[in-house]
Symmetry: C7
Subunit: 247 residues, 7 copies
Amino acid sequence: MASGSSAGFDRHITIFSPEGRLYQIEYAFKAINIDGLTSIGVRGADCVVLGTQRKVPDKLIVADSVSRLFNLTDKVGCLMTGLLADCRSQVRRAQFEAAKFKNRNGYEMPCDVLAQRMADLAQVNTQSAGMRPLGCSMLYAGYDEELQQPMLFKTDPSGFVAGYRACGVGAKQMEAKNYLEKKVKKKSDYSLDEAIEIVVNCLSHVHSMDFKPSEIEIGVVTRDSPRFRALTEPEIEHHLTRIAEKD
Amino acid sequence: MASGSSAGFDRHITIFSPEGRLYQIEYAFKAINIDGLTSIGVRGADCVVLGTQRKVPDKLIVADSVSRLFNLTDKVGCLMTGLLADCRSQVRRAQFEAAKFKNRNGYEMPCDVLAQRMADLAQVNTQSAGMRPLGCSMLYAGYDEELQQPMLFKTDPSGFVAGYRACGVGAKQMEAKNYLEKKVKKKSDYSLDEAIEIVVNCLSHVHSMDFKPSEIEIGVVTRDSPRFRALTEPEIEHHLTRIAEKD
Amino acid sequence: MASGSSAGFDRHITIFSPEGRLYQIEYAFKAINIDGLTSIGVRGADCVVLGTQRKVPDKLIVADSVSRLFNLTDKVGCLMTGLLADCRSQVRRAQFEAAKFKNRNGYEMPCDVLAQRMADLAQVNTQSAGMRPLGCSMLYAGYDEELQQPMLFKTDPSGFVAGYRACGVGAKQMEAKNYLEKKVKKKSDYSLDEAIEIVVNCLSHVHSMDFKPSEIEIGVVTRDSPRFRALTEPEIEHHLTRIAEKD
Amino acid sequence: MASGSSAGFDRHITIFSPEGRLYQIEYAFKAINIDGLTSIGVRGADCVVLGTQRKVPDKLIVADSVSRLFNLTDKVGCLMTGLLADCRSQVRRAQFEAAKFKNRNGYEMPCDVLAQRMADLAQVNTQSAGMRPLGCSMLYAGYDEELQQPMLFKTDPSGFVAGYRACGVGAKQMEAKNYLEKKVKKKSDYSLDEAIEIVVNCLSHVHSMDFKPSEIEIGVVTRDSPRFRALTEPEIEHHLTRIAEKD
Amino acid sequence: MASGSSAGFDRHITIFSPEGRLYQIEYAFKAINIDGLTSIGVRGADCVVLGTQRKVPDKLIVADSVSRLFNLTDKVGCLMTGLLADCRSQVRRAQFEAAKFKNRNGYEMPCDVLAQRMADLAQVNTQSAGMRPLGCSMLYAGYDEELQQPMLFKTDPSGFVAGYRACGVGAKQMEAKNYLEKKVKKKSDYSLDEAIEIVVNCLSHVHSMDFKPSEIEIGVVTRDSPRFRALTEPEIEHHLTRIAEKD
Amino acid sequence: MASGSSAGFDRHITIFSPEGRLYQIEYAFKAINIDGLTSIGVRGADCVVLGTQRKVPDKLIVADSVSRLFNLTDKVGCLMTGLLADCRSQVRRAQFEAAKFKNRNGYEMPCDVLAQRMADLAQVNTQSAGMRPLGCSMLYAGYDEELQQPMLFKTDPSGFVAGYRACGVGAKQMEAKNYLEKKVKKKSDYSLDEAIEIVVNCLSHVHSMDFKPSEIEIGVVTRDSPRFRALTEPEIEHHLTRIAEKD
Amino acid sequence: MASGSSAGFDRHITIFSPEGRLYQIEYAFKAINIDGLTSIGVRGADCVVLGTQRKVPDKLIVADSVSRLFNLTDKVGCLMTGLLADCRSQVRRAQFEAAKFKNRNGYEMPCDVLAQRMADLAQVNTQSAGMRPLGCSMLYAGYDEELQQPMLFKTDPSGFVAGYRACGVGAKQMEAKNYLEKKVKKKSDYSLDEAIEIVVNCLSHVHSMDFKPSEIEIGVVTRDSPRFRALTEPEIEHHLTRIAEKD
């Protein structure tokens, strides 16, 4: 970065630079990649699979106390990437928004509505100077029973939101994107097993390593089992074995 | 930019420079052009057509989840240009204002009243230091059944508002303006088909490319069908074919 | 500007410079002249005429959607000069103040009381740091039926207010002042036709050009027709022809 | 000004300099003299006379719309010197304070109590950072019917207040002071005619010019006519003639 | 002052310098001495005498309108030194505090309690950044009928408060202190006449001048006449003559 | 630290640096290590042991008045590391949160829920600018009777929270971590005596010293005695002797 | 102090320096020592003695109006060291907290609870930017009738609090600490007379001077007379004589 071009403009959350950029938001994106993790999401024919490397910062930590998979409602789940504390804060807010929605409307907040709402809240942090943007990005997974359709969404610190067929976020997101684009071009109605396979292989590919069951987190939602849940370690082991045998 | 002429004055939202300029607003205009998109609006004899290139930032995104066409009321629609999150925020506000109006007055908020209101709200962001101006510009389309007249309005971050016969906003707005002025000089009571043709040709002209149906978004409102709606991909294909055959 | 003399003092709205000047107010005056327009007001024997060039920034704009003439009450009108969005904001406030007055007192707010009130509000923006001064100046026209007298007032961003026999505001205000002083010295009880003639000629003089009916805006109020109204294009054409024939 | 001695301390309203000075207040005093006017007040045996040059900034202005004489109550009047908009703002506040006093206590606010109150309010603007001090000084005139005594007071931006036998404020206040001291030394129970004469002669003296009736403003209050009022142009003419004949 | 040692720390009201000093308070003390006045207080056997030079800044001022002696309650009086407007502001507050106390408790606020309260309020201005410290120091005089004892207190901008047998404040406070210490060492149960004599002689001593009755202000309170009051000019003349004859 | 890389960004609590870092949080971590203490926690088969060196800053202090062990509820305890006053402040808040929880829900706040809550509160201090992050880290110990499981949690100034099998915090946390990892690798179902032994040996190891009973603090919670309590000095002596004999 | 290491970080109350230090708190400690006083506290077998030099800044001051000993409740007293006005402010707050406690709970606030509360309040001034830390340190003395134990506590501007067997605060606190440590090592169940002797000798030692009864302040609380009170001058004289004779 040439300091001359941004000097001064990048210390205020809500001040445009002469080129129309909001530097603090760009810096928040950097915060997402700091811990080197990458999150992958894939939407299959009737399922969504979210997966990421489980890199426990300290061997003494009880591994399952630092999961990055969260349930926002019974049926909508998310995978967080970025600063751990910011992730947890945003999950809390999403859970609150979802609960408020259900309380007001009498039915579960749909995955897309929740993602839109969280993006709106993120935009406010870029416009008024009260709070910094959060240094994290969120992948949402759900199965919309009304539209009979699996749903995969992403929001980021700028307030952006979009639906995805497949998506990579984090330190290796460019590599993940290239990998996923090839897969999605070939076929888009993947079964659950195939989707899990793509997620696992993509993670192995971008991190250039093979994972043990304890080194990976996978969350799934399907038409038949529309509650979002994390796979157990045995389940992951089963899939890893299956994938390994395939190669 | 000669740093000597603006230094210091461009970091405060509400401070005049010695020449009487408000730099932050000028920078917000730059933000509108950052993603290279251009929006075109054309008012025909009894219709309004809004169109823009659909440039999905990522092939993995589900294209229709990032539309820039929005319904503000049943009958009034808009086409947004600029920072995506700011666009969505402004649309939300416009929808809220329109709903409040209808609730208070018992009838739909007319297109021009809504545009005036949004411009008033934008002006406030340039006068008090609480919130930055939004980095987006809005084209409004509606058919006023009382005046029996199609309406095309534009608002921008400075709080400017005006009615237009045709209008271009965004990265190529100068080129679009030149193209549209020639068309409007020739004739001003275009039919719907003609108006769509102008929009499509203008976009092709300023971006120097031909569009596939999936690469373009078109929203229309007409006297006979006063509800604002986006054309479906087959409809767009139909028009593109028609226009291509004409050449 | 010698930076040495103002450096630092001109970035705070409410800080005096060592010479006792408030620089931000002086800069706000510069904002009034940025778009090159000049507004003229003339008080005749029993009428007031306000006029300005209609310079539509873009040929595609529907000309009558960017008028600078506004009704503040049925009987009091104004002509705005300066930043468009600030003009509209100040008009809204004046309309609100006038409506509040009528609601409280049961009769229309007189022209002079309204001008005083708007000047008081402008002064507040120069004393407390909450809001910047507005970059616009306002000419008020009304016929006071109690005093049986036409009234022409001006307010500016500093909170100044005064009654005028004739007045020029904007980019060419010095030239207009010189022109009007000669006219007013000669005679002060001009008829409506004469007053319109002075306004038109003054505008032609300071801009060194002749106007087409669509290039000029004229608002009038008279004893016999005390409602402030803008002249229609045919009416303006009629006057322009009359004036041209006279020469 | 040696920048070294004040640098930094003069940009904050409520910060002492190392010598114990409050620079912003000193700068506000400069603002009083900017337009070159001088105000004179003289207390006679049973009258007070306030006078100043009427220097209309623009020949097109209706002269009596920019008077610097104001009634604060029926019986107490004032003559303002300094920034026009600040003057008007302070007068409004004084009128409000006087009305509140009368409403609470059932009798008119005496001249000295009102001056004390306005000085207290001015002091607040020097102690807390919310509002800048006002760039104007106020001369108060009244006849106290309880004390059977004419009263002349002055307040300034620092919150100073005092009673005067004669007083000069503004651009030429040193010259006026010298002139008035000689007069007051000679005699202190001047009649109304004599007091007016001193005011007029003092103004002529400090500005080195003779005034036409339209170029001067004079306000008076006397035991016999305790309502403060401005002299009409014919009355002023009468006095000017009388004074001229005397020489 | 070596700028290096204080630079930066002296512009914030509530920031300690690296040596633990609060510079703004030290600067406020400088403000007390700016006008060159010195205040003297002496506690006799059953009286307190406060005295200061009456230096009217302008011969045209009505001298008794700028007294520095004030009654805080019927029985407690004070003599103010420092910026005139700050003095008046602090007196108002003290009067308010005393009235509130009486209203709550049904008896007059004792002199020492009032001084403590004012010191507490001054401390707040040194701890929170809302208001600057006041540039004035206060001498309190009262006769406590319960303790059967005269009382002399001083408060200053730092929030300091103490009882004194004799006290000097202002431009010449070191000289006054030396003078008073010698007197107090010799004897401490001075009569009223003796106490007045000490005050007058001390003022003459530190200012190296003799005073006319109109050039001095003296306030007294005694056991027999416990209402604080200023001496009249004839009374002062009587004392001055008496003292002069004594020499 | 190269000042060039952080300059400016590290003085604002909620501003990202260009690399996406929040410097103030990193500095808060430094504050934890300033007094050179290290805290150790070990989770056994059915117990949790927390221990730290008791380094009284002053021999005159009554040693047990500066304990770093606190009860948050009857059953949940904590060991604080960092700035003493911040530690106490955070303990107060945790006690308040636990009491509020019990009051609302009718049962004790579980250890993990409390740790999550405290981490959420810490995150707020990193996002909004109102309060600085606290310079302390917290180890929580409890026995969850529902899950039949001992619980050891850690929170830090960034809002991080995780469960641990063993944990070291403070000046020597790297050394402690290495020591504990070896122990935990070997075996994880330590008995209470063994867990105490690990804590004591780890402290001796990282500080390279042997402790007297008065130089160490140990808090324990077990399945059989689920109330968190500090060991008494005789108890500690008993364990130290036991451990010493073992070597 | 090398300015390079703290520059910038020491002007904000709540900003950590890169080493994790809070400079403003360290500067507040400097303020405690500015006036050169030292406070000594000693806890005997069944008594607590607080003592300090009475250094009246001005011989004219009535000595007992500037005591540094205060009663917080009937039974708990304190000895303040540091900026006089800050001391008084903190005493007021402690008295208020103690009264509120008694009012809520129906019994006197114990000495240790009060000290904890004051430390908590001091911590808030280091965490949020509203108020600066107070430049004073507080020694608390009380006899806890429930625990049958004398209590000596200290709090400081950082929010630190601890119980002490003996304690020195202020300009000579290092010398006092060394002196007291030797005394406390020898014996800890001193009688009242012995405790007073230690306090007096310690003060004489650190200031290298002998005190007259009027030059020293001593406050005591004992099991038999649990009300905290200052010794009268005759009592102090008695003790000084006794101690002198002993040598």
